[in-house]
């Protein structure tokens, strides 16, 4: 097995999105020996997603490219381990050992470090609805990744649905790339932002970006439907129709408001879920954020409850690239024992206020659980329906996402509950009248591996 023979790194950063890059840049700048491990082939994470080949990034798809280039230059002094996934982190001695694999043959490499900055990012949060398992129903982020990284438009007639400003980004990108976007269905009214005028004003730089997307959608005559949700996807072997409906005040579908439209791609997103596996595996304490997501609890210096482990970016609360970069800079500076720039703290405060306003303006519709029919799949991996999950609650006494998993296998499969964990937790809470339980349990292994890797041991 490959182990790095050199002395442990001062700081090892997991993830190279805005938070990880900023952490690495800050740590390198203060003179530390730094390693960056990233699952992507090229740095940037989901936000600054790069084409694999060396073509110039599409300017209209990339915001804040100047910040990206500046961070890349500053972080260049780190040792880069790209295309590597961290599958577990141990602490057999005084330092951490970060165990990674790469590629289909799972080539192993273990790296040692005294301190860790975890910046693993997030992925689209999903809510189950009838037909969401049909091919052609994709996460909004997945559609965006195909477009940004691979130049592929995933469908010709697209319906975009869910909630949050990211839907506009995706719809605008698709329309510019030539897809016919038949509608953006935003579950909220958009008036929630009016309740947080100060948050908007403090982040006025974001306004031109939002207006730009709105202008693009208007130019392509893409209708934006507010208080509207996707109710079901239909088709035989792929999606060919989508039913949408308008919400009333209680978050229920208005009578006679449902319409069914022909589509070949449905892009859905309900905000984002943080990647928590490594932090949970290390034992970091968590909290529930404004958007209902479980996130890592950190202090003012981005320190988690575990000594030597800093966490930055979406994993300690979904809030976008500017917030992530500020948190990363604070974490990287503090992890090297250096002073934390006051400017970074101010940027974090402003962006944090904006994130809270965003979550408050884009809550999940109150009655979404009421639209999950008995035959709707909840767990895509293990093919567990809502009816089976309900049976675990009503007949077998399941009272948490964890007990439901043990009884009917929700969250037991390949994705390890990343996709269905949040929804399962909400559904079980709804049916039992209890508070939502943690969507993801802690586990020693963060990603699926072949037994061959495990047999070699994490030494």
């Amino acid at each position: 097995m490959a182990t790095s023979r050199s002395e442990p790194y001062d700081v090892l950063v997991v993830g190279a999105g805005p938070a990880g890059l900023a952490a690495a840049a800050a740590a390198v700048t203060s003179g530390a020996r730094v390693a960056v491990v990233d699952a992507g082939e090229r740095p940037g994470g989901q936000f600054w997603r790069q084409r694999r080949t060396a073509v110039a990034p599409d300017q209209h798809l990339h915001h804040q490219l100047a910040s990206y280039r500046r961070l890349l230059v500053a972080a260049a002094g780190a040792d880069w381990y790209s295309g590597r996934t961290v599958w577990t982190i141990t602490r057999p001695r005084r330092h951490f050992e970060v165990h990674t694999v790469s590629g289909p043959d799972e080539a192993r490499l273990t790296l040692a470090a005294h301190r860790l900055v975890l910046a693993p990012g997030a992925y689209d949060r999903q809510l189950p609805f009838p037909g969401w398992d049909l091919p052609g129903v994709m996460t909004a982020g997945g559609v965006q990744a195909l477009l940004k990284q691979h130049g592929v438009v995933a469908g010709r007639r697209v319906l975009v649905a869910g909630t949050g400003p990211f839907l506009l980004t995706v719809a605008a990108g698709l329309a510019e790339a030539g897809a016919r976007v038949v509608g953006v269905h935003e579950a909220n009214a958009g008036t929630g932002w009016l309740r947080s005028p100060r948050a908007v004003l403090r982040n006025a730089a974001k306004l031109p970006e939002a207006l730009g997307y709105a202008a693009t959608l208007a130019r392509h005559r893409v209708p934006l439907h507010r208080r509207s949700v996707v109710v079901a996807a239909h088709g035989e072997d792929a999606v060919s129709w989508a039913t949408v409906g308008r919400l009333d005040r209680d978050g229920r579908i208005r009578a006679r408001s449902e319409r069914t439209l022909p589509v070949d791609l449905l892009a859905v997103g309900w905000g984002f879920s943080p990647q928590l596996e490594l932090a949970l595996g290390l034992g970091c304490a968590t909290r529930v954020d404004v958007d209902g997501s479980m996130v890592v609890a950190v202090d003012d210096d981005q320190r988690s409850s575990v000594a030597g482990v800093w966490v930055a970016g979406e994993a300690c609360g979904v809030g976008g690239a500017a917030l992530a970069a500020a948190e990363g800079e604070i974490a990287g500076a503090d992890a090297t024992g250096g002073p934390v720039p006051a400017k970074a703290r101010r940027r974090r405060a402003s962006a944090g206020v904006f994130a809270v306003a965003m979550h408050r303006a884009h809550p999940l519709p109150e009655d979404w659980t009421g639209r999950v029919t008995d035959d709707t799949l909840v767990c895509r991996c293990e093919e567990v329906t809502a009816g089976e999950l309900r049976g675990a609650v009503d007949d077998l006494g399941a009272d948490s996402a964890r007990s439901a998993k043990l009884l009917v296998r929700t969250g037991m499969g390949w994705c390890q509950g990343r996709v269905c964990g949040f929804a399962t937790s909400c559904l079980v809470a709804e049916w039992t009248g209890r508070r939502p339980s943690p969507p993801l349990p802690e586990r020693p292994i963060a990603v699926p591996l072949t037994l061959g890797v495990l047999a070699e041991g994490a030494d």
């Binding site: 699952a39 989901q46 084409r51 694999r52 080949t53 289909p104 992925y123 689209d124 398992d133 091919p135 052609g136 129903v137 994709m138 996460t139 982020g141 997945g142 559609v143 990744a145 195909l146 990284q149 691979h150 130049g151 592929v152 995933a154 072997d237 792929a238 990647q275 895509r380 991996c381 293990e382 093919e383 499969g413 390949w414 994705c415 990343r418 996709v419 699926p448």
Partner: protein, 90 residues
């Protein structure tokens, strides 16, 4: 000249750097796996390596994520049935 790989006997062109899933999607193919329980078709869902819906068999090796795996000229990509270990079923 565009390079290609083979998908269930059909040549699929790809651009350098594209993932298998991106090339298949660009060719209009939506699914390349059937599920273990209900034998339902699946393809790309999360597109970023999180959900494991897009598992595919490449050169006989099953359970590879099409969204992450770079397309390679001459590769034999086949629809994956169930867990992809049909040869082990008794």
């Amino acid at each position: 000249m565009t390079e290609s790989f083979d998908f269930d006997g059909r040549p699929i062109p790809f651009e350098p750097g594209q993932s298998l899933g991106a090339a298949l999607t660009a060719a209009g193919i939506r699914s390349w796996r059937t599920t273990r329980r209900q034998r339902r078709p699946r393809g790309l869902f999360c597109g970023i390596g999180v959900c494991f819906d897009c598992l595919v068999t490449v050169d006989g090796q099953p359970n590879l994520r099409a969204c992450l795996l770079p397309a390679r000229a001459g590769a034999a990509v086949t629809t994956q049935e169930g867990a992809g270990h049909g040869d082990l079923e008794v």
